[in-house]
Structure formats: C-alpha cells, structure tokens
Symmetry: D2
Subunit: 343 residues, 4 copies
C-alpha cells in the first residue's frame, strides 16, 4: 500500500523497452537524433497543431525554463499560492528568469479565483517602473489539490491574462490525468484555451524521466532562446535519444491516456473506500489521480499500523496518490485495513 | 567510420541492463533510493576515501553546479582558454555561480602553463574590491586537446592554487580515459593531487547519461548547498534510481576502466594509422581516446568521400574520437581508406 | 500644499553647506576619505556601539544590498505584504540576492502579525531541499502605513526570527521619524531589538541623497562581502566624500532628529485638521510623518480644486506626507481649504 | 603633486553652484524634474541628435546598465583585455546582464586590433547553442592606456561589429578628454561612428558624481528597459534633480570641454617634463589627460621622496593623471623635483 507519490512508481515496461530499443548504433547528439524528432512529431499529432518542443529530464527544469522565455527578470509570474513552482522548486523560477517575482493568488482547490486575478491585474500601473508588472500567468492542471480545470474555467483566466498582455504557462506535471479526467482534448486544454507554453509531464505517469516543454502559436518563435537557456542550464545532455524514445513510446497508441485513466479510476476507487467506510472526508474533488482527505485519528492509526504510505499535507490533510502501477490489490488492502474498523 | 564523438555512442549493454533491472517496484524519490546509495558507496570505494556525491544527467550541469559551490558571484574561476566550461557550455558557469568570471590561461595541449597560473595569481591585490579575485581553479583531464595530466603535473598547479587560497575543480568528462591513459589511480588523479570537486563523467564512456559531482575532503561540507543548487537548477529529478543504477553498473567490476582502455587503445591504433600512412600530423599527444590532427587536403578528401565522420576543430585541426563502442572494423576501414592513397 | 512625498523636498541648508564645504582639494576615492570616516564615527556614536557602514545614494540599493549579505539565493526573506522591498523596488532584492524569494506576511498597519510569522516559521521543514527556507526577516520602521514599531513590538518578531536562525533587516527609510515618534533610542530600535542590518535613510529627511547600510554585532563581519557587492552593483562611486559629508552633517548636533520631530509634529497637525474638520477618517495611526486617510468625495474635490498634492493609495485611501520642509503655512492652507466646507 | 587620479579631484565650482541652486522648493522625484529634463535637452544639443538618457551617479553602473540592455545573459560582450568593464568593476557587467560573458581582445594602447576582432567574429557558428555568441562590442575612449580612438579607427571596428549583428557600447568615462584630444565632435565620436550606447562620464572631469547613459538611434527604444533595470539596480534615487543639475552645468557654455582641454594640456606638459628631463619613457601616446610611463629607479625615488602621488600600473609602468583641477604649480613642482637630478 504505497500511495506516497506517482514519482515513486517505476517506468512502464513499454517505455523501458523503447529506451532499450534506442540503444543501438551511433546517433547525433544534443537532440538532433531520430527519437527526439519522432517525439516532436508525436506531440504535434496529439496536440493537433504545429509546435516547438524541448525535452528535459526534470519537471522543475521544464517549468523554470518555460517561464524563463515568457517572463523577463523585471516582471512577475502570477500563480496560485499552492503552485508547485512556488512551493516545491527551491526558487528555480527565480533562478532561471534571473530574478522575476512569483506573485500569489488564492482560490479553492488550487484553482485561481478569477476575481483574485482581476484584482491583481487591475493593480498594475502602466509605465510605472517601481512595481513589478505581471508578465505571465502560470496555471497547473491537475492543480496542486488534485482538481482539474475545464477548458471553460481556464478560458476565464487566460482571457483576462491575455487582455492584460500576459503570456500563459501551464504546469502539466499531471496533464495526462487532467485530460483523462475532464474528457477534453489535449488541444482544448492547452492552446485552444489560451496556453502559450506547456510543461508536459510524463515522469509521473510511466516514464523513467522526461518532460516536454511545448511552445504553441506565436510562442514557437521562442524556441531558439529556449534551447540556449536549456543548454546554459545543463538541460541539453548529449544522448537525448533516450528522452526522445521515452516520449515517443509514451504517446504511441494512446499509452499515456490508458495509464492516466487507470490511475484516475484507481484513485476514484480509493476515494470511495476512504469515504464509504466513513474513514475520511475529502478535502478537494478527486478529478485525477490524487486524493486529499482529512483523516480521523483512528483511520490514521490503522493506516500507519498497516504500513500504508501516504503523505501528510498541510492543515491536517493527507494526500494519497494512485499511479499507473497501483494495483487492484492495493485498493483491496486499503479496504481491508479500514473495513475492519466496523467489525 | 563514425569518429565524430564519444557522445554519439550508445550505452553499454551492462549499463542498460542495470537500468532495466532498477525498473521494479516503488522507490524513494529525489536520490533517496537504494541505487543512488549504492552508487555513492561504489564511488567511495573507487576513490578510496569518504566522499559526498550528487548525480546529474548532464556534464554541463555537473561542471556548473560544482563551480557554483566553490566560487562566489564576485570571484573568478581560472581555467584553460580551451576549457569546455569556457567554450562549450553557453555560459552555464556564469549562470550557476550568479555571474562569476572565467579567466583564461594558456598552455600547450590544453594544460595550463604553471607560469601563466603564477602570473595570474600574483596579480590579485588582497583586499581590492575593484578586481575580481581568483577563487577557484578548474582543470580538465583529459584536456580539451586530448592530453592527460599526470598527478605530478596537476600537483604543480594545485599547489599554487591552494597557496593562493583557491579551491580546485576537475572536469573529468573523460576521467576514465585519463586514468586508463596515465595508469595513475583515481585517488592520485584527484584528492591526492589537490582536487576538491570532481565532475566525474560516465556518459561519454558507456552510460546513457550520468555524471557524478564528487566532493572530497573539507569540500564535503558543501553537499547541502550543492543539493539545494541542484534542486533549484532542475537537477534533482524524481526517479533518480535510473541514474544511480547506471553509475553503479559503470563502476562494477572495473567496467569503466575496461571501456576506457578499449577506447584509448583504439585511438592509439587510429593515430598510428593516420600517422604511419603519412596522411596526417598529430597536433597533440594522444593520451586518451581523442586524436587531434592536421589533415592534408588529399586525406580530407578521401575521408569525406568515404563518409567518415569526424569534427573540424580550430586552426585546420580535426578531431577523431574513439569510444567504448568503436570497433576494430572501424580502424580497418580507416586504414583501407587512407592506405589506398599510396597505390 | 504639496504633501505628495518627503522625497520631493529639497535638502536642508546645513547638509547642502556640508557638501559644498567638502568640495575642496584632492581626496581619496571610493569611500576612503575623511568625510566617510567621519560619517562612520558619527553613526557609531549615535547607535552607541561598534558598527560597520557602507553609504549609498539610494534607498532601494541600501535595502537590496543589505538583504544580499544576509539571504542566500536559495533562501527567503520574510516581509510584510506592503513592504517597500516587495512593492516598490522593481525586484531589486531578487536581483541583488541572486533570486531569493520574498515571502509575504500580513498584519495591521504594516506591522507583521506575530502569529503570521510564527505560522510561516513553523512551516519550514529542516533539511528539505524542495521548499525555500526562511533566511531573513525584513521589518520597516516606520511601516509602509506610517505606523511605528516600539522596541517591544520588534522584539517579539525578532526573537521568533532568531529562534528560527534568521537574520534581521530593518528598512529605516524613515527611521528618524520612528525614533522621534517612539522616543526610543536608535540603539533600542535596532541592535538592542535584534536588528542585524539597518538601511538608515537620510534622503527623505533632509539629505540630497544618502542612505547608510549599518551592520551590527556579528553581522559586522559581512562588511567585506557588502563592499564587494556594492562595487559590483555600481554603488561605490569614486567621489564618496559628498555622501560622507551629507551623513555627517545629518547627524551633527541632532539635526536629523530635529528635522524628523518637525515633520512628525506637522503631520500630527495635518491629521488633526483632516479629522477635526470631519473631512477624513484615518486609516492608520499617525506615528510619524505620514497620514493615511479615507477622504469623502467632497473633501477630495476641495483638495484637488485647491491644487493640493497628495498620493492616491490603495483601497480608497490617500497618503499625505509632511517633510522637514513642510511649513506651518501649508497646514494653514489645508485648514482653510477644508474649513470652508462648513460655511 | 597629486597625480593619482582625476577621481580624487573636487567638483568644479560652477557645478557645485548648480547643485546648490537646484536646492529650492519641491520637485518631482525619480528623474521627472526640470533639471533632468534640462540635462536631456543639453545632451541632445551637444550630440546633435535625438537621444534617450538615464543619469547615474556611478560609472560602473552606467557601463553595466548600458551593457545589460544590449547583451542578453546568453551572449558575449567583446572588449579590450584591459577594459575597465573587465578589470575594475568587480564583475558588474556579469551581474547586470545576468551572466553574460566578457570576451577579451588584444591591441596596442588599449585599442582593439581589428584583426583580433575579425578573428573572434569569424569564430561564431550561427545557430550553435554551445558557444556564447558575440552580442555587443564595448570600446573605451579614452582607452585604458590613455590613447584616443579617432572616428576612423572606431569605424573600422564598429563596421565589423555591425556586420556581425552586434550593438556597440562606448565607455566614455573620459569622453570629454577624447573629444578635446581628437578635435572630433561628440557626434563624430559616437553615433556617427556606429555607437549605439554611450556611458558619458562627467565625474572625472569636474562633477560631484554623474554619468549619463545615452541611447542613440534605434537603441533609443530600449529606454523603457533601461529605466526598469536602473530602478531594479538601485540607480533611480528619488532626488535626481541634483544629478540633472550637475550635468546641465557641465555642458553649459562648453564648460566640459574647457575643463578637458585644461587637463589634456596639463598632461601634455607633465609628459614633456617627464620625458625631456630624461626621467621617464612613455609607454603609450598621451592623447588625453593620462600619462603611462616607465620610470627609472632614480626617478621613482625622487618622486616618492617628494611625496608625489601617482599610481603603479602593471609591467613596471606608472600612471600620472591630470584633472581639471591640476595646477601649473603641480607641473612646476614636478619639474623641480626631477630637474634637480641633473644638478
């Protein structure tokens, strides 16, 4: 019963096989290989548009590099107060942007409240050099509370951002889960909803470690600067074929959505068990593969006694994560552990 | 006949197998897994001393992170004018250090001339805030001309550096080739010769992509800052088990030295072919797996016609690299290509 | 009736005379002159302790440089959400620290709520590399709402900060007004209350432009790094004698406190006029030389008609500032303007 | 006999008077005052073209800010190996640009050798992300050896730079001396010779402390970014009227050129004394107000015995500087001191 994080799961066998299959012969370095090319083509197909792409082995790098090409050192990135870029990346956005400011907005379940965004945008005084003006909006889908933005919800925020001249970044560390959860298409959840740059995660959903920075529309013109900053940040390793191979396999035949659908369905079952047994109360909607729940002391005791792994969150909440690798047995074990309480 | 770079080679099967073998079950994230632990232990054994270690997937990142913990933003790193950190990393050292200066020294075959180092050190005026004082010395072994420093040669430079209060970094992207070439031990070529921080490369010598930043002696105390900077730089991916597994397999049973010995021996044969056929003149000693040679027009024509891949260098010099994967057939093909000229 | 800002006022004649008097003969450059030496001695006397000092011509520079020697790039500065360092310095703290994060705390009248500070400090997980840990606390006295911290109020915050290992910075752009307002001594409002580094402003209180960064206690050891960073930031102009002369004159014979007392008393009278005429409601206590008030439409109309200058603040509040140069006639003019409303 | 530096001289009385005259009444802050406006107008008139201007109190700040708007963090500034930006600014260019690289070129008397520039430009490989490409050329006039570029000499370099897509910065810390020395007009020595951004110094030539960053031609569009970076760097002090007043007085009625002409003429006389007495050998042409000379031991002894102040330079060379304030008596004293040697 390890529900600690989807980052603790191994890679899916098909992705590992693709890495092994890429391990033959000489190949061009630094992203000029056939596997990276195939990955770019697969991404364009999945997102139904022309894109520019850079692959990294780290989600923090993907986010920080993405932000660094849409926000100058003298500007601000607006994000949710719980955003991963704010809370869990040790200041990587500040480092890669050269000292831009992250300004925090509130809202339920990790979604930015449109009124909070409007208020912040209204406070910018054009031409003032004293204040740090908003230059970018960063959303997360899934949010840090496990909720999913619908395209319509995103549009409200991105329309406001674009009216203010901002560019829009989407942290899609669990983008597959958002797609699987909302039923919206990758295009609908990104460029059709105003996203300029996407951090497209695969690591949490079955890869060894690969994330794609995807530039849409006019933002594609920033690919040159992105590659320069990637190199400068140590995110242009020589043998990129292994990154390209992972992402290509991830997208082939809908594997990525199958894995996400499995994780989401498993999370839904876990949530049902937790709630139906009266053992916990959900603190946020379970739109993807994460459950945030308040656990009574007795539940906590039982889970710990059974050696279940899950993460303490803030405010008495705990997080349970289902991954592509979480099995039906894990759900059963949880049910058995909690069900015993009524006997 | 692909002699373009050792970065174009695939990974060695044993290392790929280790990655596949690591792909089972749940594992702790961010370097707290058993494979990273094993890698650290293997490194300590190979270098015969206590060490602190951080693994990265990129040599540029390894170098820049290493320098960032031994040189403040207001200091200078002294390095050879051909050093990779100066020429080929798009300003990564400046980025990671927060704007430290790289100051360039000359010397034959990529080795810093001790007199040049002494002159530079003598020019620092203690207490002056106007000039950027030297804070670190960065050496490369192999050098960027393919030569190898002996421990004695290193000691002359590191003694001077330490007398001036500098810390010493070694870019060991091809450290295995230097060990195999000099016959000196890993310890003799690092901490016993005054090295505080080593970028220990494996990617060019058979890994998919892993480099270890190794802190020796008192520099070990900087591991906390190193980990913070790694995280901040996007160099703390969640599933680090795949990095740990690579490095562990790389060091197991002397694989790394066998691979380097093969590459060095192959390079020696290649050099012999180039020279004995009168087809080229060596521009630097072939101490490892790289050959820098001046090619007459006829030689160049024949090689290009035969589709041989190698890299134009500066000053009319070309570079040929042998890797762990370069085969005897490649040498034979080169001989056939060039030998035909005399018929 | 110009109550727009104390930065709009000219310099006091005695300070200008001192600058003119310093304009004779050759003098050592870069702060090694007799006037800077005298300024340092005067500061030590006023603060009743050994200090290290660097003079700048800008308050933003003083704050940012001060923070850069007490907060690493990977750390956070805790400050009030209205703090000048957060709102009005275009990201200077992020620039000078190399990308440290400013984390915002709430509290009435620009004073940090001790509970908010405690909550933030409690959230740091020792050893975590993912989160940005608090490294420094920055207070402002006067606060950005014109209120003054008493030594006891400061102590509650600085004790908590120091228990958490933080260093403490005080933005004293209007420190003179805080001293004059509270009646506490300079020492009591700084190092005796846990302040490690003070930005000691003189510009708003009668100088042409000079602020002193003052290091107390063990923080004095950071003077070397401070000077290096000042030079690197362009804050070591050659003819520093003119800065030294200003600050020496500012502190001579209690001029600085006389000027602040005048400004504070004038502000008190202005506030009395505004309130007693029923024309406005105070939004914050008037502890120094600033008044924050809610103005009814009629009041606003009259003031604007009379050509009075004052600044719109947020939330319908307006700010009036009295300086050393605000005259009794200005108060009378305001009274006349508003008093007429009842006729 | 103080020939140590023109930075040790006081301000010219007319400039001090202008500062005192500006000290009346309330004035807008942050550069929006009438004095700064007058300075901008005076600069446009002197340079015979439309310009954008920002004033700073420090030459290091002027240079670093100027470079920060013409060179990205991922680019290189080409400059002479003796350039002040390289040698004497503690890495300020690296700090303000966010880590750009200074790449050094050689040439006699501080002038860049056109062949060295051509060689460097030829080495850039378009599209390569590994190397740091040249983005800007920085010249100094006077050079760091006291020589003056003619417009024709500048043009050779700036034409090559512009053909390579570079923008051109001129460090004019002693620009007045270059104008006075060459007889060329300010326009001819700047925008007519390909300069995009000028650091126009006044401090060394009679101001208390003011330098203007002047943007010419299309570079004028960068004024917004320049102001943002100035604010962020602490170079937007509130009471900028005192900077504006200095510069306005400096340019009024040709004062700046009169002062430079005096300094240059005095330097010429000093050089004549040094040489004619056989006491020294010039190491560089005396085109402005600086003399670089090799001093025999006897000369050195006499000068030191007489308490003369001058600066040791590198390679056994010493520097003597004449300023606007150096008097005929100082020259006479030098002559007396050295002349006695023949008796």
């Amino acid at each position: 019963m390890n529900f600690s994080s989807d980052t603790s799961a191994p890679a899916h066998p098909l992705i590992m096989e693709a890495v092994a299959a890429a391990n033959r012969g000489m190949a061009a370095s630094y992203g000029a290989d056939a596997w990276c090319e195939a990955a770019r083509a697969a991404i364009a197909a999945v997102f139904e548009t022309d894109v520019e792409v850079w692959l990294t082995a780290s989600g923090t790098a993907a986010n920080a590099l993405a932000l660094s090409v849409i926000c100058p050192p003298t500007g601000a990135v607006l994000c949710h107060e719980q955003a991963h870029v704010e809370r869990d990346e040790r200041g990587a956005p500040e480092f890669f942007t050269g000292g831009a400011k992250l300004q925090l907005l509130s809202g339920a379940h990790g979604k930015i409240d449109p009124a909070a965004l409007a208020g912040r945008l209204a406070s910018d005084r054009p031409g003032s050099v004293h204040q740090v003006p908003a230059a970018a909006l960063s959303l997360s889908n899934l949010t840090e509370s496990g909720a999913a933005y619908s395209p319509a919800e995103m549009r409200v925020l991105t329309d406001a951002a674009k009216a203010g001249g901002l560019l829009v970044h989407l942290d899609g560390a669990r983008f597959a889960n958002a797609v699987a959860g909302t039923g919206a298409s990758p295009a609908e959840l990104t460029w059709k909803s105003g996203v300029d740059v996407l951090s497209f995660g695969a690591t949490k959903n079955g890869a060894l470690g690969v994330e794609a920075i995807i530039l849409f529309g006019e933002a594609r013109q920033r690919i040159g600067e992105l590659r320069e900053r990637a190199k400068r940040g140590g995110h242009m390793p020589p043998k990129m074929r292994y990154l390209g191979a992972q992402l290509t396999a991830y997208l082939a035949d809908g594997l990525w959505l199958d894995l996400a659908a499995h994780a989401n369905a498993t999370a839904a079952k876990l949530a049902e068990v937790l709630v139906s047994e009266g053992a916990a109360q959900l603190a946020a909607p379970v739109d993807g593969n994460e459950i945030f729940a308040v656990l009574p002391a007795e539940t906590l005791r039982r889970l710990q006694q059974a050696g279940a792994l899950f993460a303490p969150w803030e405010g008495g909440v705990h997080r349970f994560v289902a991954s592509w690798a979480t099995r039906a047995e894990d759900v059963d074990a949880l049910r058995a552990c909690l069900g015993a309480r009524r006997d």
